[in-house]
């Protein structure tokens, strides 16, 4: 028997999920010294996860990371299998028959709840829904957002919140040449939202924006950002956090807030960045009319300040509320899950589970560590998981696994229609061709049957 990873017995690994962490895990496996085959299995017919469906359409340059993934995918040792769902088209047990190991890189697809009364009232939505909608994700493309009111509230002050804010604030002309879904562009062109409230529990020094994204808010053609100057009066603890040389982003962001606070409001739309407010209740007769918030103050030592309520409340009237207060992974059948953290319990990427005589399971990306960091953060994370897997290799035994041929046979028996990377390249070409007449980089297919039809390359 030859050791796993030798030329006669290639290490065969299935990666579930084709977002950044899945592709970086595949890349790390292929770059190892072992003879390796990697199959990336994806629920949708199209790859790239949040690069396609999370990154905002007006951040075209960031979407270029997909070119890096395409290069990885063209390695003959890698196979992309789209349109196959874990737990529906195949089980973990079946994967164990085909592969030496499985890496779960399924991300964090659901929103965390605010936990306040009225949270689910009509007009209140999760950011994942809104982001999925404007990016043309088939799960969200038929949602309807009421953009007819004058104002909108966004809860949360991270980069997703700021993406949502920017998409609501931009003019149709600023979005027209992006890959935004046509249905979203049409709806946003009719939007009557003029005032956007961006709500944060803590203060300007604790905000988690990337400076670049924050500054972008100051460069929109039809919207001025604003900050209440009183929110920029800092306590000693905040001053010391601001002066921390290890966190230069704080000072950069604070400069941006200061410029927003002294800015003349001249454009038709306004984005108000509020600090020290915590949502308490969403109210309305049949749909959202107002959000009640409680003013907060910070307590604790510098670097560990937490927001606590002051008892003082106020309300903001709005017909649309988008909640962006974090994400959570989804549990997968037969895999232990930490509901509180929204992740799969693991040791350095090895899932904490026992499958007697079956294949070991690893995790990478958001399902491993929770929804933190940006695209590149997942590369370091996936490299670490693959290092754990390769260190475990001697414990895998020396059994041969049949890999992709057996998996393809299994899918064929079920009449599952899978999409190869060549199939995706057909979809890709068709989307780009659809975008050309409108000056868009692509017009995405937003329904799975359309994607499947395009994957055959026949018009």
């Amino acid at each position: 028997m030859n050791a796993i990873g030798s030329a006669d017995n290639p290490l065969r690994v299935a990666v579930i999920g084709s977002g950044p962490s899945g592709f970086y895990a595949a890349e790390a496996l292929l770059q190892s010294e072992h003879t390796t085959e990697v199959d990336i299995l994806e629920r949708l017919p199209v790859p790239y996860g949040l690069v396609r469906y999370g990154v905002a359409p007006d951040h075209a340059r960031l979407k270029d990371v997909a070119n890096t993934y395409a290069e990885i995918a063209r390695d003959p040792r890698l196979s992309f299998v789209g349109n196959v769902t874990f737990g529906k088209d195949f089980t973990l047990r079946e994967l164990a028959d085909c592969y030496h190991a499985v890496i779960l890189a399924t991300g964090a697809a659901t929103d965390r709840k605010l936990g306040i009364p009225g949270e689910d009232i009509q007009g209140s939505h999760a950011a994942t829904s809104f982001v999925g909608w404007y990016n043309g994700h088939p799960d969200y493309r038929d949602l309807v957002f009421d953009l007819s009111g004058g104002s909108a509230i966004i809860i949360g002050q991270g980069n997703v919140a700021i993406d949502v804010c920017r998409i609501l604030a931009k003019s149709p002309d600023e979005l027209r040449k992006t890959d935004i879904a046509a249905h979203a562009l049409d709806a946003l062109a009719e939007s009557r939202i003029r005032e956007i409230h961006l709500i944060g529990r803590r203060g300007p020094v604790q905000s988690r924006f990337t400076s670049k994204e924050l500054r972008e808010l100051g460069q929109l053609s039809e919207c001025d950002p604003s900050v209440d100057p009183n929110d920029l009066l800092l306590s000693d603890a905040c001053k010391s956090e601001l002066a921390d040389v290890r966190e230069p982003t704080r000072a950069r962001n604070f400069d941006a807030f200061r410029s927003f606070a002294s800015r003349q409001q001249e454009k038709p739309k306004c984005c108000r960045i509020h600090f020290f407010l915590s949502p308490r209740e969403a109210r309305g007769e049949h749909k959202l009319e107002e959000l009640v918030l409680e003013r907060t103050r910070l307590v604790g030592a510098a670097g560990r300040q937490e927001a606590v309520g002051t008892g003082q409340t106020l309300s903001i009237k709005a017909g649309l509320m988008i909640r962006s207060v974090g994400y959570s992974g989804r549990a997968l059948e037969g895999i232990p899950f930490d509901d509180a953290r929204g992740t799969i319990p693991n040791q350095n990427g090895r899932a904490e589970m026992t499958l007697a005589g079956k294949c070991p399971v690893y995790v990478a990306g958001w399902i491993k560590r929770g929804p933190t960091g940006i695209i590149g953060t997942n590369r370091a994370d996936s490299l670490a998981t693959v290092a754990t897997l390769l260190a475990d290799l001697p414990t895998f035994g020396s059994q041969q696994k049949p890999g992709r041929e057996a998996f393809a046979f299994l899918l064929a028996q079920r009449a599952t229609r899978s999409v190869s990377f060549q199939g995706w390249e057909m979809i890709d070409q068709a989307e780009k061709a659809r975008g050309t007449p409108f000056g868009k980089p692509r017009e995405k297919f937003t329904r799975i049957p359309e994607m499947l039809a395009a994957s055959t390359g026949r018009p």
């Binding site: 340059r61 960031l62 990371v65 400076s211 695209i375 590369r379 370091a380």
Partner: protein
């Protein structure tokens, strides 16, 4: 505006940046790292990864750091892509402490 590696990298070269770069835009030689401005997608993942805060968006550079824009563009064209973590240069930790970024 691409990101650039500035003076703090020289004589440190921790290379934590290369692990988080989503597009392999880091190049390096025996002294330091450089960002290929064409390949960089401006995601800023490398900015917090650098232990000596050597990486900035070009827009954030001070006047005396402006030269790094050209140096990164030129040197990245003549040095190999670095994709895996390298051993930091001798004296890197001491230099990090001297810059005020030592472990607290």
């Amino acid at each position: 505006m691409p990101h650039v590696v500035t003076g703090n990298c020289s004589d440190c070269r921790f290379t934590d940046c290369v692990l988080v770069c989503p597009v392999a835009c880091f190049h390096g030689d025996d002294h330091r790292m450089y960002i290929d401005p064409i390949a960089c997608v401006d995601c800023a993942a490398c900015v917090p990864a650098c232990p000596v805060h050597a990486i900035s968006e070009s827009a954030d550079l001070s006047q005396d750091q402006q030269m790094w824009v050209q140096i990164n563009a030129y040197k990245s064209g003549n040095t190999p892509v670095i994709r895996s973590k390298q051993t930091p240069l001798a004296g890197a930790e001491e230099r990090r402490a001297a810059l005020g970024y030592g472990p607290s």
